[in-house]
Structure formats: structure tokens, C-alpha cells
């Protein structure tokens, strides 16, 4: 088996340089014996190597059927090899398995729809990442993000005051448009705790502005916290640092529970939903989230249904809608997202395949967070998505997930699709009735 697509990454190189055969063997064995059990064993034993899952994966499809990109193919080159070699693998192999696990799989679980035996390739790749984390072989940028989480409890190195300051700044900005607007901080007993991911206060402050505007216009009793815990994002879940994942979710949920709110509403983010709904909560011992978290897609739809958002006009241009894996395959919000899209737009053009069967954007699962060295992996690895987008013939894409946004934006550029990407929040804000400003 030759691996001819090695990409230089400072984090991987540094990590591998510190490995010894003994450390590799001990660490892999410790993860296998200490942290995995029947699930991994069964997956390894019952995978019939039938290759039915190959076509599920956008990487495989985009690389003209290169078998080393098929879901089972990636398992074969990573976990499969570890099991066959009984944990005796070389540092060079570890580099390769890290590159595959971190950058050539989005943990999107599309392959679940293809495997007759119900094998969860995402779980296996995530376990490989766990091994890489334990070996200290992680891509530089995602590791830096994990460090930020550890040091500040948010993803973007935001300091405590910068968070509050940003909220207050957005509140001031928005008051030019809606003088009575408030972003109530630490309001105990509010109905809703609004949580976002750190890129919002860092780069996409207009999203906080818009959310505040919508909340105020719809008369929602909401609050935002002043202390760490406000960031629901979680790259540690993807880097394999599960202890930090647990810490992040603990502080997040406890900050909401302490404020005595009824539920959390979160911004339009996919992976954060996976973290609060599927993985982080379990590590902390909660079988479900300890306090309900409503994704914006669902929340906006509830506001619509209740007549709390009124539109000035609908979006007339044809528009297509991307189904983010983590809230569709991960939560089943396809119905709400369709209802909302149709409520907002005259002409929704579906892409194919869609709903649960949608192709991933190739940014998710922490891949975009592995940074510039791996950008082309995402671009070349998702030609199929570009073709799918192009086939819709429309100029605008709705994508209710931050990572999808980043990923689709890059794809649109790379394949020169000339498309515009929007959040539901963008559309609602643009289209809703607004109070007159004198």
C-alpha cells in the first residue's frame, strides 16, 4: 500500500518526530483496550469488505473512484492496518493515518445509508483520531483551536471581556436600527439562552446583530451569558480530545442551567449540535442534553408558525438548500428546514441527492479547521458537491451551518460557480418587516 499524497503539516511532522515504536504500540493498545469495546470489534469483524459504501463518500466520488478514498478503504488503511499489525506500526504510518482520519473524512456518516451491516465508519475514524490525539499527532491548526478551547473555553481565543464587549457593541449597532433593542445579559429565568459559536463574535458579528434583531422583533424572552460557556462549539470532539470535549459541554450546559432558562437556542451551526446532542453530553454522563437545545432552523420555524415573524416580501430568485449532516442526518431537521425555506422563498430548487442523503460540504468534522495546508484536500475531494450545486442552476445557496458555509464558499470559488451563500438568519433579517426608523 503506497500513500502518495502526503501533505506537509507542522503539527503532524512535529508529532511524528517524537514517536518511538514503543510509544506507538503502547498508546494504540491503551486506546484499543481501554476505550473501545464490542462496538469496534464488531465493526472490524462484520465488515464484509463488500465495497457497497464506496459511492457514499464524496471523496471517493470526486477522485474518480480511487479506492483509497472509499469509507471502508480509509478504515482499511488506518484501523484495519492497526488491527492486522497488532498495533506495531511505524511513525510514518501514523502520519498517514492522521492525514486520512483528520482530513479525508468529515465524519458525516453518509456512508451509513450504504452499509447493509450498519457499520459506522465515522465512529471508526473518530477512534483513529482519538489514537492520533493520544500520540500527539494532530494537524497544527485544529490543535491550536483545541488549545484555544482549553485556555478560554471558546474556539477563537476570545478573552472574557471581548465576548461581552462584542455583544454590547452589537447591541449598540443594532439600536441604530431598532432603538429599543436589548441583548439581556445573564437574565436569570429567561425563557431562552441564546448560544453561538466563537467565530460569530470574532468574525461574523452581523450574525449576532441579526439574531438579536429577530429575537427582539419576535418578542422572545432571551438572554446571553456573560461568562465562559457561551460557546457551544467543540473542535476537541474532532481532534480526539474527549476530556476537553466533556469540559466544554459541562461549562456550556451549566452556564445555561445556572441561569435557570427553559431551553437553549443555538445559532446556525452543525458540529456544535453534534457536540451537545450526540457526543459531548454522553461523555459527561447525560444520555440526552441536560437542557433542551433547539437549533435555529427549528426555532425560526417555530417563530414563523406562531406568526411572530412577518415578512415584508419573499425571496424571489430561485434558491437551493444544503442539508448540513449534523442537523439533518444527526437530528432530522429536514422537514423544518424545508418548511422554513418555503416560507421564506418563492422558488426552492432541491439539489440531488438531498435530505438525509445529501453530500457533505467536506468542511465538517474538523476538516476545515485543519487549516490552509489541507484546503485543496477539501476542494479536490468534493468536486461532486460542486457538480451537484451547479446542476441546480441557481445563484443562491441556503446553508444553516457555519462549517458548511466556509466549505461551500471555498468550493464556489474554486470551481467558479458564482453562487452566493446565506444563512436562514440572513434571509429572515433581510426579508422581515422592520419597524420604521425615524
Amino acid at each position: 500500500m503506497t500513500f502518495d499524497r502526503k501533505i506537509e503539516d507542522a503539527g503532524l511532522t512535529r508529532g511524528v518526530s517524537r514517536l518511538t515504536p514503543q510509544r506507538i504500540e503502547d498508546t494504540l493498545r491503551q486506546v484499543l483496550e481501554g476505550e473501545t469495546g464490542a462496538k469496534l470489534k464488531l465493526y472490524a469483524e462484520t465488515c464484509m469488505r463488500c465495497g457497497m459504501c464506496s459511492e457514499a463518500c464524496h471523496y471517493y466520488m470526486s477522485h474518480d473512484g480511487d479506492p483509497s478514498y472509499s469509507p471502508a478503504g480509509k478504515v482499511h488503511q488506518t484501523m484495519g492496518e492497526i488491527l492486522r499489525k497488532d498495533c506495531k506500526v511505524t511513525p510514518e504510518f501514523v502520519y498517514q493515518m492522521a492525514q486520512i482520519a483528520y482530513t479525508e473524512c468529515n465524519l458525516c456518516r453518509r456512508c451509513v445509508h450504504y452499509c447493509p451491516l450498519g457499520i459506522d465508519t465515522g465512529y471508526i475514524m473518530s477512534t483513529v483520531r482519538r489514537m492520533c490525539h493520544k500520540l500527539g499527532v494532530t494537524p497544527q491548526y485544529i490543535q491550536d483551536t483545541a488549545h484555544s478551547h482549553a485556555a478560554t473555553m471558546n474556539q477563537m481565543w476570545l478573552k472574557d471581556d471581548e465576548w461581552m464587549d462584542t455583544l454590547q457593541w452589537q447591541e449598540d449597532e443594532a439600536r441604530d436600527e431598532m432603538p429599543n433593542l436589548r441583548i439581556p445579559l445573564d437574565k436569570e429565568g429567561a425563557e431562552i439562552y441564546y448560544s453561538v459559536i466563537a467565530p460569530e463574535p470574532k468574525f461574523r458579528t452581523q450574525l449576532i446583530y441579526q439574531a438579536a434583531f429577530i429575537m427582539n422583533e419576535a418578542g422572545v424572552d432571551f438572554t446571553m451569558p456573560t461568562s465562559p460557556g457561551w460557546d457551544n462549539s467543540d473542535m476537541c470532539m474532532f481532534s480526539g480530545d474527549f476530556e476537553m470535549m466533556g469540559r466544554l459541554k459541562k461549562i456550556h450546559f451549566e452556564s445555561a442551567l445556572d441561569l435557570k432558562v427553559k431551553k437553549i437556542v443555538m445559532g446556525e451551526c452543525g458540529h456544535a449540535f453534534r457536540s451537545i446532542y450526540d457526543q459531548g453530553n454522553r461523555w459527561d454522563g447525560w444520555d440526552m442534553y441536560p437542557i433542551e437545545v433547539v437549533h435555529s432552523v427549528e426555532f425560526f420555524w417555530e417563530l414563523f408558525e406562531a406568526g411572530k415573524i412577518k415578512l415584508r416580501e419573499k425571496f424571489h430568485e430561485p434558491i437551493t438548500i444544503h442539508d448540513p449532516c449534523n442537523i439533518i442526518r444527526g437530528r432530522g431537521l429536514m422537514e423544518q428546514s424545508r418548511k422554513l425555506a418555503h416560507a421564506l422563498c418563492d422558488n426552492v430548487v432541491e439539489m440531488h441527492p438531498n435530505l438525509e442523503h445529501n453530500y457533505c460540504c467536506a468542511a465538517g468534522g474538523g476538516v476545515i479547521n485543519c487549516g490552509p495546508p489541507f484546503k485543496n484536500v477539501r476542494m479536490k475531494g468534493n468536486r461532486i458537491k460542486a457538480e451537484q450545486l451547479k446542476a441546480t442552476g441557481v445563484k443562491t445557496i441556503l446553508a444553516p451551518c457555519h462549517n458548511c458555509h466556509g466549505g461551500l464558499e471555498d468550493l464556489v470559488h474554486y470551481y467558479e460557480l458564482g453562487m452566493d451563500i446565506k444563512f436562514f438568519g440572513d434571509l429572515i433579517y433581510d426579508l422581515m418587516e422592520k419597524p420604521e426608523v425615524e
Binding site: 512535529r14 478560554t152 447525560w286
Partner: protein, 417 residues
């Protein structure tokens, strides 16, 4: 702690302030805050275009600000608020603001000696300040702020070296430690969390992340001999000074004290431990298995459970405890291994009477608030109410509430429930 013995404990109801009239006086009134003794009610109010101040018992502070937030009463009933003026930030205490302004100031807490402590950012550097006096040394970043019980000492996790963008090497060498009164410990670590002072305000313990994978506890900068897969917030035994912290071993949680495992690691979760005041018992919230939480005393869990358990409170004598159970949207109050009959839309952490014989909690039902004592609700519910406070003699309960637009303080006899 406030000296509750000096408060008015005469039974009965007293209207303190007609807060409904405020809304006509101001453009808007923000959330009400009540002082512990129930004698004052305050709120941030908007007095004009981009003009804010605080209103207490109907009287506004003299000055107007661009913003007032984080309005909080001190235990001795002074009202504090963080204010913004000309883009600079300061703390105002009963309308008098501190002489200096800061780049940012937040996280107001109070010491038992009456001191007021804040986290501060000045010129991009971080630290803490007591009554407006900042640490001599400020740092590239600081968080996890803590104040000693006597209010004289402060501690925070600080970053002692600069970190370039995406520099994972330096981070892993360690750039964080704890600073007490602005003096950083000698040792640096990969991460530190939740510093906490002992009862005498002498020692500081915190969580340490030594490497990406190894966690332990440090006391005054010295780490325990043993490392764990993970740890949570340590706490001091108020009498012996020993330090206990939940620790993770083999994927399960137990409790360690001074580095020795005292509760075997067999829980799916274990956190929020608390010693009794005499230091003889250790209580915690634990999950015997995934999705099943309860309370444990000295490692022995109660027989009842709920999918989520929060807000553990331990009676002053250490023999009793209460916590909130949450199943979906429904809150229940667990006490002494039993669940109270009623369930609520929301419940607040229960309060024990000084003699440990009674428990009371604020609860919400159908959008109305009241206080329940030993499972029995007070005869009336309110638009809004605050957490109950027992009289020093344990026979009366102070209920602070907003009832029909009036802020009232009710001294109820425990037999009124």
C-alpha cells in the same frame, strides 16, 4: 455573609416599593434585583437617548451613563453596577463610581469584609482589582477568577508568556499558572482551572492539566503525586484543610483527597462535591450509570435518581442534603433521598435553615413563582420572587417578591407553609 440578625424579622408583609410606577417614569426598566434583607429593589433604567442609570427604591443614581449592566446587590445591600462612560468602564457603588476607569471590568464579587472584587482589563492586560485597586502585575490574559472568603485575597488563572498565532509548541510547554494577588506561582502548566481558597483564606487549590492527557490538582503550586485522566473543581475541607476533587480513572469517576482515591472510580460522573461545615462528610452529585444522576454522601448514592441532577446544597450540620432533579422540562426537589411530591417548571437551589431542620426553595409553576418549605408551598404565588432566606432562629422565612406591581418583603412563619 450578611448579618441577618439585624434585619427586620417582624412577621407580616410590608410593601417596600411600587415598582409598577417605574415604567411610566423611564423609557424602560430592566430586570429587578432585590437586596438580601429585602429592603431594597433596584434595576437598570433608561432615562433618555443612550442614557442609562440605576434606580433603587424609586430613586435614580445621580449620573447617567452610556450603559449600566451586571447590577448586583452586595450582601450588605449596596447596589453595584458596571458602567460605561466615554467608552471606558468602571464600577459604581450606590451611584458613586470608583475613581479610575478601566479597559473593561466585570465579574463583580463580594468579600465578607465588605470588599468588592472585579476582574479587570487595562490596556490589553488582565488581572483583578479589590475595591478598585488593581494587581501590581497584570497578564496577557486572566480568567477563572476567585476571591477568598474574607475578601482580602484574589486569584485567577493567568497567562504568563505571549503566544503567537497557531504556536502549538509554546502552548504545550506551558504558559499558564495561577496568580494570587497578582503574584504568579513559580510553576507553569498547560492549563489551570477553577482556583479556590481554603476556609482560612491562606491556600489555593486548582485543577491542573499537566499534559494534553494528564490532569491533577495543585495546592499552592505544588501538584499531587498522582495524575488522572481528568479532574473537576477541587474544594477544601473547611476543618482539616484537605483537598478533595473528582478524578477520572479507567474511564470512570471517583473522588480523590490529597492525591489518594477515597471513592473508587465507578461512577459515570461525579462532580460538585461539598464538605459539611465540620468537614466530616463529603457530598457530591454522581451518576451511577449513564443518564442516571443522584446525590452521594461519602460515596454512597441515594436510591432515587433523575436524568439530570443539579444544585446540591448541604445542611449546616452536614447530615442532610438537597438537590434538584430534572426530567425533560420538569424539575423536582430531592431531599434526604426522597423526592418531594410536587414538580415545577423551574426550581432554584434549596436553602437549609441554620438549625438544619427545614429546607426551602424558590419554584416556578405556570409562570408564577413562590417558595416551598419542606415540600409545602407558601399560600400565595407571585409575579416574581427571590430565593428564600431563613431567620437566624430558623423559625421564619423572608420572602422577597413582586406582587401586583409592588415589591414586598414578607416575613412568614415556618408554620405558614
Amino acid at each position: 455573609m450578611p448579618n441577618a440578625s439585624t434585619w427586620d424579622w417582624n412577621p407580616g408583609r410590608r410593601e417596600v416599593q411600587d415598582v409598577s410606577s417605574w415604567s411610566s417614569k423611564f423609557e424602560w426598566v430592566e430586570e429587578f434585583q432585590a437586596s438580601s434583607d429585602g429592603e431594597k429593589v433596584g434595576a437598570v433604567v433608561k432615562t433618555g437617548d443612550m442614557e442609562f442609570t440605576a434606580c433603587v427604591n424609586g430613586k435614580v443614581w445621580d449620573e447617567r451613563y452610556e450603559r449600566v449592566f451586571y447590577l448586583k446587590f452586595s450582601p450588605d445591600s449596596r447596589l453595584t453596577g458596571i458602567i460605561q462612560q466615554d467608552g471606558e468602564w468602571c464600577l459604581s457603588v450606590d451611584g458613586q463610581h470608583w475613581p479610575e476607569t478601566y479597559g473593561y471590568i466585570w465579574d463583580t464579587t463580594f468579600g465578607s469584609n465588605g470588599s468588592i472584587v472585579c476582574a479587570v482589563q487595562q490596556d490589553g492586560e488582565y488581572g483583578m482589582g479589590v475595591d478598585g485597586v488593581l494587581w501590581e502585575n497584570l497578564f496577557a490574559n486572566a480568567n477563572n477568577f476567585a476571591t477568598s472568603g474574607d475578601g482580602k485575597k484574589t486569584a485567577a488563572v493567568v497567562q504568563i508568556a505571549p503566544l503567537a498565532q497557531a504556536d502549538i509548541e509554546t502552548f504545550q510547554k506551558g504558559i499558564y499558572t495561577v496568580a494570587v494577588n497578582g503574584e504568579a506561582w513559580d510553576n507553569v502548566f498547560m492549563n489551570c482551572y477553577t482556583p479556590v481558597f481554603d476556609a482560612k483564606s491562606e491556600k489555593v487549590a486548582c485543577q491542573i492539566r499537566r499534559t494534553l492527557y494528564d490532569y491533577t490538582i495543585a495546592v499552592d503550586g505544588k501538584i499531587w503525586q498522582r495524575e488522572f485522566q481528568c479532574v473537576w473543581d477541587p474544594c477544601f475541607n473547611p476543618v482539616s484543610g484537605a483537598v478533595a476533587a473528582p478524578v477520572r480513572l479507567g474511564g470512570k469517576w471517583g473522588m480523590a483527597q490529597d492525591g489518594e482515591v477515597i471513592w473508587p472510580a465507578e461512577f459515570a460522573q461525579c462532580w460538585h462535591q461539598q464538605y459539611s461545615a465540620d468537614g466530616s462528610k463529603l457530598w457530591a452529585i454522581v451518576a451511577p450509570k449513564l443518564g442516571t444522576f443522584t446525590v452521594a454522601k461519602d460515596g454512597n448514592p441515594w436510591n432515587i435518581s433523575a436524568p439530570v441532577v443539579i444544585d446540591l446544597s448541604v445542611s449546616p450540620d452536614g447530615n442532610r442534603a438537597s438537590a434538584l432533579g430534572k426530567t425533560g422540562y420538569v424539575y423536582t426537589i430531592m431531599c434526604d433521598g426522597k423526592v418531594w411530591d410536587d414538580s415545577y417548571a423551574m426550581a432554584w437551589k434549596a436553602v437549609f435553615s441554620p438549625d438544619s431542620t427545614k429546607v426551602a426553595a424558590k419554584v416556578e409553576k405556570n409562570g408564577r413563582f413562590t417558595v416551598v418549605l419542606d415540600g409545602k408551598p407558601y399560600g400565595q404565588d407571585f409575579d416574581q420572587c427571590w430565593e428564600p432566606i431563613f431567620s437566624p432562629c430558623s423559625t421564619k422565612v423572608l420572602i422577597r417578591a413582586i406582587d401586583g406591581g409592588k415589591f414586598v418583603r414578607i416575613v412568614a412563619d415556618v408554620s405558614d407553609f
